[in-house]
């Protein structure tokens, strides 16, 4: 007359199936924690140009993003074209070492070069010593 006992064993058998599921979930959790990087996503979805460049991105930098619709985002803030010069100068003035400050320009691969050149000219005028372009690694596209 052990009703609870039989009920328990049925429940335990159901739980046994769950254990393998929990194992998988743990493994996936560890994989995503170790392999993934958590970083702030871009303001607009970009398809960066592919390049064979192996240079890793520096961390101490300001970011200027040019969207596929030609919009400008400076440090995740949408700005108008006329404000760019002022923002760049402000960033240089706020930097501890202005001669070491680097700027990373993120553009869409399909963006017209003339637009990129406009932005780069503005950056050159502001006097940034280091300018780099964000790319995505791929084997050479010939």
């Amino acid at each position: 007359m052990n009703f609870c006992g039989t009920q328990n064993s049925v429940k335990r058998e159901q739980d046994d199936g769950m254990i393998s599921l929990i194992n998988i979930v743990f493994l996936m959790l560890i994989f995503f924690m170790v392999a993934g990087q958590i970083q702030r996503s871009d303001a607009v979805k970009l398809d960066p140009p592919l390049s064979a460049s192996e240079t890793a991105q520096r961390q101490d930098r300001v970011t200027l993003l040019v969207g596929p619709d030609r919009g400008l985002w400076f440090e995740h803030k949408l700005i108008a074209d006329q404000e760019l010069a002022a923002e760049l100068n402000a960033a240089l003035a706020a930097a501890e070492a202005p001669d070491q400050l680097s700027i990373l320009v993120k553009v869409d691969g399909a963006l017209a070069v003339s637009r990129l050149q406009e932005v780069l000219r503005e950056i050159k005028r502001a006097g940034f010593p280091k300018v780099s372009l964000a790319t995505q690694h791929s084997e050479l596209n010939s």
């Binding site: 993934g36 390049s51 995505q136």
Partner: protein, 133 residues
Amino acid sequence: MLLDQGVGKRSKRINITPLIDIVFILLLFFMLSSNFQHWRQIDLSSAEKTEENTEKKTVRLLRILDDQGVFTVDGKSIARGDQIAMQRLIHEEPEAVFAIEAAEGVQTQSVISLLDSLKQQGAKHVSLAGVLP
């Protein structure tokens, strides 16, 4: 008649259901927020380069005409995929600065691909014309 025995045993075991809930929530968080894009960068200019003596170097102007990778240099047109012509161009003057300019409407990807090809064929100084040193 030990009807309560089973219940008593069960209450002693630690309940792992909330633990699994938390693990699920953590898993969802990491799955949604982690990023597997491998970003790289191309340096367009640096302080060291501007200090170098640039006046001695000759500048070869390369003009990209379209997104197929055809460019002209001194009136000759060369395809980006044409390795022999590219190598000949670079071996003529390995120390020259290869400045790239683009026709209207050319995509950034084409310029980056040409920069890559030039570097792979041995060009030492590559730049974007009229923008950066």
